[in-house]
Amino acid sequence: MMCPDREAELNAYLDGTLPAADQAAVDAHLAQCAECRAALAQLRAVMAGARTLPPSIAPPHDLWGAIARRIAQREARGRRRWWRERTFWAGALAAAATLLIAFGLYRGATTRLPEQRARPGWVAIEADYEQAAADLARTLAAERGRLRPETVALVERNLRLIDAAIQESRAALARDPGNAELGQLVAAAYRQKVELLRWATRVATAT
């Protein structure tokens, strides 16, 4: 049995990590301690044995069938998810188009009211939505590489539509700042933009 307090030292000696200054002390100890010499020889045998273990061992069963099945299952799940994404974006696109049409109809149908002052809370609400949309857009920009290219294209197409709706609504609101319904329409478009970005970010970070 080796001297118990020499274990770390002898291992480091064998690994070649012992400082040169300490090697002479270990050599001196080994010269007069037969048990440590025997332990060192046994450790060397263990280490030499480890290096000669076969690098390859055939699995007892052919695992390819199970691996191929698992890969096929994952691919099928991926395809289902892709169709779900497509369905979602098709719906989002239709909703954005509806919003634009509704806005157009609204603008044509509403009667101009006398000039009123804008409600003071609106600026803060708009700033909140813009901040949220900007934060999500930054996250999405960092993660967009994880989305399928066709999904990215759909997201961008939807965002362009919603941005157009926002711009048009805001222009109308600027002309008629006291119109609460116009304000609600802008807020609805912002909400849709934030929802869309939130969804895309969640999908990207979960991929």
């Binding site: 274990e7 770390a8 291992n11 025997a38 332990a39 020889a41 046994q42 450790l43 060397r44 045998a45 263990v46 280490m47 030499a48 044995g49 480890a50 290096r51 000669t52 273990l53 076969p54 690098p55 390859s56 061992i57 055939a58 699995p59 007892p60 069963h61 695992l63 390819w64 199970a66 691996i67 191929a68 698992r70 890969i71 994952r74």
Partner: protein
Amino acid sequence: MAADPTDLVHRAQQGDHAAFEVLYRQHAGRVYALCLRLTGDPVAAEERTQDAFVRAWERLGSFRGESAFASWLHRLTVNVVFAALRAGRRRALRVVATAEPDALEQPTEDTGGPAPALDLERAVAALPPGAREVFVLHDVEGYRHEEIAHLAGIAVGTSKAQLFRARRLLREALNR
């Protein structure tokens, strides 16, 4: 003639299952040996081997060819095994140790030469989990303590202590 590994990887990256099967056939033994030694359990080793190849298929896109495919797969396998070990799956099932309790009782002459491979294989499988993983990575696979500490989520000092403990236990087991 053996298939060109670069071409196989490229084809597998394009979704070619047949090419990936050839890669599996080429590397299964190496991956299984690593999983078996790290887990000490043939059942868990088969599961981790499957996990490693499924993960490799999913991550093939991230393989850029800077290293050899074998090295990339080896590192990925170590990560898969450690993730499973951390999740605590099947730690109790150490079939080699329990199914062959006499394996460590075989007397081995102290010749100072390399330990016989089969005895050493069994003795490694019977090591306590922390010591076994460090011994396999350091003394069998040639990893450095810093790499092991990173992979296993332990301190470098712990990696060294586990290695010394593993060698001591193996020395004792092989000299009974």
